[in-house]
Amino acid sequence: MTVEDLAVEPTTTSAVRIAGVSMTFNAGTPRAVDALVDIDLSASAGEFVSLIGPSGCGKSTLLRLVANLIEPTSGTVTVNGKPAHQARADQDYGMAFQQAGLFDWRNVVRNVELPLELKGWDRRRRRERAMEMLRLVKLDDFVEHRPWQLSGGMQQRVAIARALAAAPALLLMDEPFGALDEMTREHLQAELLRICAEAGTSVIFVTHSIPEAVYLSDRVVVMSPRPGRITQLIDVGLGRDRDDDTRESPVFYSKVTEVREALRGIRGATDDELAIARALLDGGRDAAGRAGVDDR
């Protein structure tokens, strides 16, 4: 798809549209790094898209480009039909990071109110909205608590409530459950799906957990490093009603396998590794099999 093709499509249907985006850090210096090359991607309204790939593949960079926290070297990023900087100015998206990033000096409800405060909502209205959000993440019993009095999972739920407070059409999440234990993680994944389905929120979700990407997403974007680019788009199609049984269904397993294989394909992609693989193949199938163990 070319940039021109994208331009003629109606923009109202897509939550995010990334066209011909490249990102070079330290451009023009000897330390120049091509973080992303020629990325085209769009996410439609209400869609849940995960970005997955090995470290250094630029998935976080891509997310930060959508958030307009950094500007692309070339190409365009459109959010809700607006240029990314305009979308940021309008608070069209909410964001959550791996660290909950709550402020110690505010209690739970005041943390959730922060984006509304910056939008200039009056006190009563933002308190109402924040309470509604806290009910949504089931933390309405902890309104007056301080962040450091909560568990990691609860803190992350407050962060999600904060990200959703201004009712953004789009949620950008950078490994939000990365620091949590497996049980909390699965619980919050289900919660997130429920909340986003209720509000019709689109989500771009960065992760390096394959089951997490498969469970949550309508579509998984597989990326490869050096330079960062998209190697495969995988439609998951687990349907809207996912629960704990979904994690044990054959479809789930087959999709996990599909994503895993797509990621493996990447591993062979660098020249050095191809050379090693060839040498190993020459040396016999057993050696190649052992090399595959490295691949996780």
């Binding site: 926290l69 402020f103 110690d104 000096w105 405060e117 910056l118 301080r146």
Partner: protein
Amino acid sequence: MRKALLFVVALASVAGVWELYKAVGPAAGGDVLGWRILPRTSDHAMPHVWEMIGRLFDPESRSSSRQIWRVVLSGAWFSFRLALVGFVVGSVVGVGLSVLMARFGIVRRGLLPYLVASQTVPLIALAPIVVSWSGRVHPFGLDVPRWSAVSLLGAFLAFFPVSVGTLRGLLSTSPTSLELMRSYAASWRQTLWRVRFPAAVPSMVPAFRLAASASVVGVVVAEISVGLRGGIGRLIIEYGRQATSDPAKVYTAVFGAGVLGLAMASLVGTTDSLLMRNRAPAEERAQ
């Protein structure tokens, strides 16, 4: 309650050590490895603690009926007010400078070396200059009171720890917090009030403590070098001159200086605990 008890115990042990050394130390001082470092313990050099305390209730001089403790306390109160003005002015200037330095890298790079250099100027060299200004400058046609020069010198010592400590705090905000504020398209000012300042509080608290004691030192030294009457600095000098005939008297002024320092420290301490309420206990934050 516990704290008050500890305080009394600490005071008593200082007095105890003083008396103990006085009892066992050499009266004419002593040499250690050829160096004359042991202080003399004669009543002249080291008066008894009870003598110092007793002197507090004697009249200041033969011609005066005022007891010494009244004079010392009013001197301490006088100096306290000057130090407080110096502390507040110094803090406001310090915080203002740190905000400018946090906002503009060029200000930070240009100003910071001069701030450090400013603290190497001896206060007693600066005092006469400031005093001569206060005689000559008449903002809005008003006379500048003489005490303001002393407060200004207190402020001169106080602003430095505040500006450096606050700057450190303002620049130590976590990148995630700043990114979050950026994602809300928050202005620099909104970020300053909602994130940078609150995040800087743990660095500002010790800076204010340093500034409080610096302003006290500044004011006492400035009183002496400016020759301002009424404060504790002047009393120390006056009573010190009488030390040959009345060695215990000068210690009453030193007590006054101690009370002054304590008053300032407890004032700042109260402010600090107000600022730090609701913050995570240190062990939680370390995690």
